[in-house]
């Protein structure tokens, strides 16, 4: 029933937006329109919030030439298609589809509107008018795993994820491998809750992980709910997508911040200049897309030094957590000693490393 109501809502939003655009079309004609579809509400203080910051960066940098439009709460199903069509018909020249689950919908609508350029976040299917862009969140996860592996007393770490998609699998693996570098016996208990945003379920899953012995829980879902539970229990965790320390000043050790602004401004500028071309971009710490939030003073100095070492290694290209030997959950050697996983392998990864306890 939620699906129906959400779709109805989207249609309503689309229709209302279309109507309002008719009135302003003449006035705004000289500005290039850039559209965004967002998975969650812009107030989620996580994934969507960070993408919206990137949109605001376009407004700030190119506000005199570019006008941005966004639609929130777009489900990752067929209902994204009419929303995308609406944006294209409103005259958007560039549309950012900011979640993995919009992949086929983006390709479909891109086929219908060859003159409109699309940018799909975290996907791998491209076309002449569809670029893909991604962020190496796993580099940030490697820093979190280093801190967690060193600080955990029990050696049992919790990982609260959304779905088994490459981004999450990479995050889990980077976190587990980094923790095991500090504590070879460290294990990671993984719960995938089948949602990016469900505060009550995130909270209950965090309680469950704590009860099963985890003393540090990291989240790969979008609300600050898990951190609030950790704060109440006097344990530690990390923010996802944005600095969430205000929600849990003691529990929040640090966070992975997603900085999309520079990329969004660059691509919008390319549309203005007429130089836009389809490409695949996968930036990370080096380019400033992945940033580690300020450390909590509760992190001991030696752990800070280790975490900074990982950050520095990623920035100068001397470090990669996906360097062999790497074993999968069943103990099979997946990456040989000294080999480094290629970007291609990372983008399509679907297996978890040794020490990850998961249901799938």
């Amino acid at each position: 029933m939620t699906t129906i109501s959400r779709r109805t809502l989207m249609k309503g939003v689309g229709a209302a937006a279309t109507l309002s655009m008719i009135g302003t079309a003449a006035r705004a004609e000289d500005k290039v329109k850039v559209g965004f579809i967002f998975l969650g509400p812009i107030g989620d203080y996580g994934w969507t919030w960070a993408h919206n910051k990137g949109r605001e960066a376009i407004d700030a940098a190119l506000g005199d030439k570019v006008e941005t439009i966004y639609v929130e709460n777009v489900a990752e199903d067929a209902s994204a298609v009419p929303v995308l069509r609406d944006l294209a018909q409103q005259g958007c020249k560039l549309i950012f589809t900011t979640s993995y689950g919009y992949m086929d919908q983006t390709l479909q609508v891109a086929g219908e509107f060859p003159d409109v350029k699309f940018e799909h976040c975290t996907g791998f299917k491209r076309a002449d008018n569809v670029s893909t862009y991604n962020s190496k969140f796993h580099e940030g996860r490697a820093v979190l795993g280093t801190i967690a592996g060193k600080m955990s007393a029990s050696g049992v770490l919790g990982y609260l994820g959304s779905y088994k998609v490459p981004e999450v699998v990479l995050g889990v693996n980077a976190f587990a491998l980094s923790a095991q570098k500090q504590n070879p016996a460290a294990t990671v208990k993984l719960v995938l809750i089948d949602s990016w945003f469900d505060p009550p379920k995130e909270a209950a899953a965090t309680e469950t992980l704590i009860n099963l012995g985890c003393d540090i829980v990291t989240t790969h879902t979008d609300s600050p709910g898990p951190l609030q539970i950790l704060e109440q229990k006097g344990l530690h965790g990390f923010g996802q997508g944005a600095d969430m320390s205000q929600f849990a000043p003691n529990a929040h050790l640090t966070a992975i911040e997603d900085i999309w602004g520079p990329y969004y401004v660059e691509r919008a500028q390319a549309i203005v200049d007429g130089t836009w071309a389809s490409k695949d971009t996968w930036d990370g710490m080096k380019e400033g897309t992945v940033v580690i939030a300020p450390y909590n003073p509760a992190i001991p100095a030696d752990v800070v030094a280790l975490a900074d070492g990982v950050q520095a290694g990623y920035k100068d290209g001397s470090y990669d957590i996906f360097t062999g030997p790497i074993y999968d959950q069943d103990g099979n050697l997946k990456v040989k000693e000294g080999e480094v996983m290629t970007l291609e392998q990372l983008a399509t990864i679907d297996w978890f490393v040794k020490g990850v306890e998961s249901a799938a």
Partner: protein, 305 residues
């Protein structure tokens, strides 16, 4: 399995159960009066933001609970005006209330995004509330005890009071109730307001107790589960309590199974479980032909005297 482990699991189950129990109890009374209000999700969200907003502004969670009840009841009364006084279709209006509540709560909530409040935790002394074993009885928010007290109260009201009898009469046969002089519309307004207040408090459980913050759509579909729960319970209060805890245990089991590395059921199956169980319960009820456990006869029908 140690005692600590079981206690922690029970506390998680109580947290998952209480909001759907509160909202379900309210909806049960509404449906007993012959009105189907599908707007539970929207009323819960309005309650969640009202409760959180009042708590943040007054630093008083008790006022927050009152605010949540008032917010839920007001939005329900809007539904009441449409379906009772203007005789609009209850299903369509209820769905509209869910959508409206989602949007309105987001709008009101804009200025509360990123703010936090102290959790509305236990009111018992720490020696009881934080005690490793006794916390399983004393460690909860007052809303948990409120929900548990309301179950027998509602049961007693419906079964043993004159007002409860009138409410059921209105739900079973509105024209008869009308012909012997009862105010059908008035009774239904009161039931709808009560249902809204309970849904509002249920929503506030999310924004004031579990994760004391405001986030859009933070109830994430629990209103629909509360609706299913009423049907699952066969419109009986005792079964509603049992059903709420059954659903709560199912939700917790999913998380425990996943965290322990079991994957004997696909996760989509777990998510569908409350609804599947409701279908099973409905089949069971109708095959037995038990009148006492069937829907109120006037459920969802407009009253046109």
């Amino acid at each position: 399995m140690s005692l600590d482990f079981i206690i922690a699991a029970i506390i998680t189950v109580v947290g998952l159960t209480t909001p759907i129990l509160l909202a379900g109890l309210g909806e049960l009374v509404v449906e007993k009066a012959g009105v189907l209000n599908l707007g539970v999700e929207g009323m819960m969200l309005i309650g969640a933001i009202s409760g959180f907003g009042v708590t943040v502004m007054t630093f008083n969670p008790w006022l927050g609970v009152l605010g949540a009840a008032a917010g839920g009841a007001l939005s329900a009364l809007l539904f009441g005006v449409l379906v009772l006084s203007l005789n609009s279709n209850q299903v369509a209006t209820g769905l509209a209330l869910s959508i409206f509540g989602t949007g309105l709560s987001s709008l009101i909530g804009l200025s509360f995004v990123g703010r936090i409040a102290a959790p509305f935790g236990s009111i018992f002394p720490a020696s009881l509330a934080k005690h490793p074993i006794l916390q399983v009885f004393f460690g909860y928010s007052p809303l948990v005890y409120f929900a548990l007290i309301m179950v027998p109260l509602v049961a007693w009201f419906l079964k043993s009071t004159r007002a409860g009898l009138i409410l059921r009469a209105v739900g079973e046969n509105d024209h008869s109730a009308h012909s012997i002089g009862y105010n059908v519309i008035g009774v239904r307004y009161a039931a709808i307001a009560f249902g809204g207040a309970m849904a509002g408090i249920g929503g506030a459980y999310f924004s004031m107790v579990i994760t004391p913050m405001w986030a859009e759509k933070m109830t994430a579909g629990r209103g629909w589960i509360a609706l299913a729960l009423v049907v699952f319970a066969g419109w009986r209060t005792g079964r509603l309590l049992a059903g709420a805890y059954f659903f709560g245990i199912l939700m917790a089991l999913e998380l425990y199974a996943k965290a322990s590395g079991f994957s004997f059921l696909p996760s989509q199956f777990w998510a569908a479980m409350p609804y599947l169980m409701t279908v099973v319960a409905l089949t069971f009820i109708s095959s037995r032909g038990n009148v006492g456990a069937s829907a109120p006869a006037c459920l969802g029908k407009p009253f046109l005297p």
